[in-house]
Amino acid sequence: VLSRVADSLYWTARYIERAEDTSRLLHVNFHAMLDADSSDHGDSWRDLLLAVGREQLFREHGGEVTAPAVTEFLLWHPANPDSVAACVSRARANARGVREQLSSEMWEHLNRLHLYVSQRRGRGVIARPHDFLAQVRDGSQAFQGVTKATLPRGEAYEFLQLGAHLERADSAARILSVKQASLFEEAPEPVAAARMVHVLKCVGAMEAYRKHENDRLAALRVVRYLLLDRQAPRSVLFCLERCLAAIRSISGTSERPERAIGRIVAELSFADVGFDVAALLQRVLRAVDETAAEIASAYFTTRVILPGPYAQQQQQQQ
């Protein structure tokens, strides 16, 4: 495929996945708040900002860490470039530029989600965001499902897979690195269990974990599962292996992206039982960034779109 097309497909997938991941974090947090024994309201909203990497930006623009303020910031605040609304809008803008590469079903799902998100703004949503967040999750999952069902397995498909899985791995690793310390803290049984359930839900792996291990919850097992399980579709290793497979079948002219991701996949595959969780997570996050940079330089040429005259010249018609 064209380099520009690859670029847009990869970012379409990353943005739509990012919108879904942020929605899931909000959703899980809203539900957790309803439980009587959760006493750390402010902390969990701050964790949310840390998990999406926008804590500092929020402080610059937002001020107090309250449920409505964080929710608005993460849903559509103009100062937040990674808000759900901005991600959906950018996913759609990227897809629009390569629409002929998508199946019409894929485009329609994305376009519908975009229309839904751009038409619903208001305090009602912030107070009761359940439907809104569920729609974003459904929209993203429908898009990804329809992609699997309709798009031929070529390079275009692989770039979408690469974007989605790299984003998902990044998101899971960020959540773990924000939350892992609290999992290992001494706490009464119900609190500790609630924390583990919370982390599993934030990554979207609660049900999968229950099927995998119906035993008592244990912090190290939860962490190992979210990091290293090969069957869990949202675990870090699973996602990175998918990225590696996608890169191998794209096999461009450079080996650098494959090398960047291959190293971290190897490390995770052969991780020791008693590994240092925090340090490993830092290496995962660094590898994800490095891979993203290698992908960009190997497959996408740098393109500068100039506003003004460029847009004007495009407006010729007959």
């Binding site: 495929v1 064209l2 380099s3 520009r4 097309v5 690859a6 809008s89 803008a93 629009r96 530029g97 390569v98 629409r99 002929e100 019409s104 485009w107 329609e108 376009n111 519908r112 229309l115 751009s118 390079e155 794209i250 461009g252 002219t253 497959y299 040429t301 393109r303 100039l306 005259p309 460029y310 847009a311 010249q313 495009q314 407006q315 010729q316 018609q317 007959q318």
Partner: protein
């Protein structure tokens, strides 16, 4: 059949001085509209509105729109669509098809001639000054032999009907005509909303248009390309017809590229892919001549690809349409198309022109200036309904402005009598008559073909004569009947 008042079609209107497509007299449908009128009469306004809404929602969901895309996404508008189809009987279509093929063949022969020996000028059939003075005449094209001798691979010929119902050619659009995607989407929308009507009418299919277009493009590939790579070159997402570019690329299964995706090296054109450079043989370009190659034309064009003209001149890539086709859709040269048909084909034109006065001609200029309040004045290379004076609807100030412009630059203007475009019912809150035209798409490769139908455009603003989508026009599905 006389229709009652208690149905969707409402109270019959007076055809007045206009030719009405649907009714012969007040409320009496023509034979080929009878079945449709009966069906529509059986619908309530609510039922009709419901289907109209469904089409609107589906266009919105599919992002079928035509306006520009800037920072503000609300600028994207859906293409206004009317659910009452235009019906053309087979015999009428056969005549149109013959006329269109004849006309486009003559236009292609004309282009080949004026970019080579210029026989038609030497024989005194067209004033040379008119051709060489046309802004769209491209000297760069002289001596170039496009494969198959085809210049205008895609032509969008605008047809109108006068007060007697006679079809006339209003314009030949030979540069980058738009609208085929709307023709196809309109049909898809009608099939979804009124499947029953199709069973009863026997409507000829048009869905093969993208394949016909692809076949035409493949047939004009450079002879050296055995398995030609065909791409569609778009100005980009900000272009008002971007939807169409993307639509056609998807339905033909070819790459949609912009100028930056292409690269010229040693007179060959390549596209930049993740696997390296890939050679391109045919470019269906939807970018105007002047923007194609900053080395040859506008130096500040960001839409084109440097070196494209040299690759084209070397015969290593085909451009569709060819460069310089605009000289043949110049509105002054238009006057001589019937002459071209006689000269090159030795036939009488099947379809007539609208009478046209050239401001460049001193006598005709006098007539134009004396009759500004009756005539339609157009710039010779305008398109999209911009830069027109519609005499009967104009103010004295507008007429004076045009008078000044005509006197200072006569070659740039022509005038035509104001034609009372035919009308037919549209539904906007209620059913009322609106003026319409028809743009069929004529494809030329190794053969010249027309898919049975076209884009019927309707002036949605009450009384308006301008049907261009950029000027508030909408469109209708166009049905050519099997018998």
């Amino acid at each position: 059949v006389r229709l009652s008042q208690a149905n969707l079609l409402g109270e019959p209107y007076e055809p007045g001085a206009f030719f009405d497509e649907m009714y012969e007299g007040t409320g009496t449908p023509r034979t080929h509209y009878r079945a449709l009128a009966e069906q529509l009469a059986g619908l309530s306004a609510e039922e009709f509105e419901e289907r109209r809404h469904a089409v609107g929602v589906s266009f919105l969901n599919q992002g079928i729109g035509f306006t520009v895309y800037g920072e503000d996404e609300s600028l994207e508008r859906i293409f206004p669509f009317d659910l009452i189809p235009r019906v053309i009987p087979r015999a009428e279509w056969d005549l149109l098809e013959r006329g269109l093929v004849q006309r486009v063949r003559a236009l292609n022969l004309f282009l080949a001639d004026i970019y080579h020996r210029q026989r038609i000028l030497a024989d005194g059939r067209i004033p040379p000054g008119l051709v060489f003075g046309a802004r769209q005449f491209r000297r760069e094209m002289i001596g170039i032999d496009p494969p198959g001798g085809v210049y205008a691979h895609i032509a969008g010929v605008d047809l109108i009907r006068d007060a007697d119902g006679r079809y006339l050619v209003l314009e030949d659009n030979l540069r980058v005509p738009s609208g085929a995607s709307y023709m196809l989407e309109n049909r898809a929308a009608m099939k979804r909303s009124f499947a029953q009507l199709f069973h009863e009418h026997g409507v000829l299919g048009i869905d093969h248009y993208p394949q016909e277009l692809l076949a035409a493009l493949r047939s004009v590939a450079p002879p050296s390309a055995t398995a030609p790579t065909i791409v569609l070159l778009t100005p980009g997402v900000h272009n008002s017809a971007y939807f169409e570019h993307s639509f056609l690329a998807r339905h033909m299964g070819i790459e949609l590229v912009d100028g930056g995706d292409l690269l010229c090296h040693d007179d060959f054109v390549y596209m930049r892919t993740t696997q390296g450079l890939e050679r391109v043989d045919v470019i269906y370009r939807r970018v105007d001549d002047e923007f194609l190659d900053p080395l040859a034309f506008k130096k500040d064009s960001l839409l084109g690809t440097p070196g494209l003209l040299n690759a084209y001149r070397a015969g290593n890539v085909t451009l569709a349409n060819a460069l310089g086709t605009g000289v043949a859709d110049d509105k002054a040269v238009y006057k001589y198309v019937p002459e071209m048909i006689r000269y090159y084909l030795g036939e009488e034109p099947v379809l007539d022109n609208v009478p046209t006065y050239l401001a460049a001609d001193e006598r005709e200029r006098g007539y134009i200036l004396d009759h500004l309040d009756e005539l339609v004045v157009k710039t010779v290379d305008g398109s999209g309904g911009y830069g027109m004076l519609i005499g009967p609807a104009s103010t004295a100030a507008e007429r004076e402005r045009f008078r000044g412009q005509i006197q200072s630059d006569p070659r740039s203007f022509v005038a035509q009598p104001t034609i009372s475009l035919s009308r037919m019912p549209i539904y906007v809150d209620e059913v009322r008559p609106a003026h319409i035209d028809l743009r069929p798409f004529v494809l030329s490769g190794s053969v010249t073909t027309v898919v049975p139908g076209g884009l019927t455009r309707a002036a949605l603003r009450a009384g308006s004569l301008v049907v261009n989508s950029s000027q508030g026009g909408g469109s209708k599905d166009t049905w050519v009947l099997r018998s």
